[in-house]
Amino acid sequence: MPLLEIRDLDYAWPAAGMPVFDRLDMTVSEGAFILVRGASGSGKSTLLRLICRLNQPQSGTIFFRGRNIASILPSVLRSMISYVAQIPQMVDATVAENLLLPFSFSANSSKTVPEEQELARMLGDFYLDTVSLSQSALKLSTGQKQRLAIMRAILQHPELLLLDEPTSALDPESAAMVFSIMEHLNREQKTTIMCVTHSDYRPATLAAQTFRIENRQLILNAP
């Protein structure tokens, strides 16, 4: 059974009524590494938002592990599918409190809260050695916040990780590091990743598939 299946998905912008997807189909296997490319405004971010129900389709069905996502409690669905938006958001609290924020939500109550040492180690993995767990997250740069937001999502051990332009605010070195962490996560922890990106990044993993959104449809193995 595929991890994610999208069938006959129709979506149009609510205000303008402009169609974004027209009977879109997609199948994502467990452990896949999906890259989604496409022109600005083609619906790349919307696709991720539809999968985690931050937007609602006009028609069509999305199945997660064979279950229609509309029948899964939204908070439970989003504890299994983590979405990281392009513009990172932090609450007015310390870095540690931001990283542990998901564990304060009832849908994540059964998950193991990471120790401080694990958080500190991961900061190093994300080239955030200069960032202290006790400093205010709001004072970080956009690039640092973006890495922190990805780290926060990973800490939850999601079954599907949706990343919207995760390297848009990063320098080439940090971007390469983020992609290498994603590949490691995909390879070692078998986390399925779907990533919207404009970059020329080509994942080394065999599980990688590249889609392009064109004419309101997804085209597989697009350049």
Binding site: P14, A15, C52, R53, L54, N55, Q56, A70, L73, P74, S75, V76, R78, S79, S82, Y83, V84, A85, I87, Q89, V91, L101, P102, S104, F105, S106, A107, N108, A149, R152, A153, Q156
Partner: protein, 262 residues
């Protein structure tokens, strides 16, 4: 000491218009552009209060439960239209839930205060029930308008932050917890401030009215204490219920934020 109230003659009432002329002159001299509003406001005050006077005279004399409740309902519905005039929200419908909450909570408050604390017989004695309800409605109406405006504004402004929490597994209540608390607090602060200043900074209208009509100030303060507590309590409960219902309506079936940026 005169125990009765001194009547204001029609001629003396006209003298009060001097204050309106002062306001008009100020607006005219300093080009405030308020002359029309001052005129309309003064005329509406004059007409509405005279009308209210005759209506109250009729109701107080009628001793009719049905009429008392009907007047109460008209007051609440009018208040709801004033709230709608202030809260310009098109994407989320809040009119009916707010109206129903106001009707139920204000009615319960007025019954409690009039029938139980003051101990009128019957509990709907119009002389007590209508003014009590009027004070609750007038005060709480502003609180609800403030809280609703704040809820919609903050949810729109903090949409991305709320969505971040939703994306990490929060339910809509957890994701909008801070927005909800700030909205209720904003609505309640005027009532709480009023409790701080009463008797020191200002003498409330009800107490002033009772003293002017010859009531012993020690009795008047008891009424005023009941009124102040009633206003805070009814404002809190009405604001919280309305915010709980309306907040739910700001989220869709997938607990997604329905309010889009303007």
């Amino acid at each position: 000491m005169n125990s009765g109230i001194i009547d204001i003659s029609a001629g003396n009432l006209l003298l009060a218009f001097i204050f309106i002329f002062i306001a008009q002159a100020s607006s005219f001299i300093y080009h405030l552009g308020l002359n029309r509003d001052i005129t309309v406001g003064a005329l509406r005050t004059f007409a509405q209060l005279f009308l209210m006077g005759y209506v109250l005279t009729f109701i107080l004399g009628s001793e009719s439960l049905l009429l008392t409740v009907a007047v109460f309902a008209v007051m609440v519905i009018s208040a709801m239209f004033i709230v709608r005039g202030r809260v310009k929200e098109k994407q989320v419908s809040y009119f009916m839930p707010t109206l129903l909450t106001m009707l139920v909570t204000y009615f319960a408050t007025a019954v409690f205060v009039s029938g139980l604390i003051v101990g009128t017989t019957p509990w709907w004695e119009p002389r007590y029930f209508i003014p009590t309800a009027g004070m609750v409605i007038g005060n709480s109406m502003s609180a609800i308008a403030i809280a609703l405006e704040r809820l919609f504004r903050d949810l729109r402004q903090q949409r991305e932050l709320v969505e971040m929490k939703l994306s990490l597994g929060a339910n809509y209540r957890e994701a909008s917890d801070e927005v909800f608390r700030n909205a209720v607090t904003a609505g309640m602060i005027p009532s709480i401030n009023a409790m701080m200043g009463v008797g020191l900074v200002f003498i409330p209208g009800m107490m002033s009215g009772q003293i002017l009509s010859g009531t012993d100030p020690l009795i008047a303060i008891r009424y005023q204490i009941v009124v102040m507590f009633m206003l805070v309590g009814s404002t809190a409960i009405t604001s919280i219920i309305v915010m709980l219902i309306v907040r739910k309506r700001c989220f869709g079936s997938g607990e997604e934020v329905l309010l889009t940026p303007r």
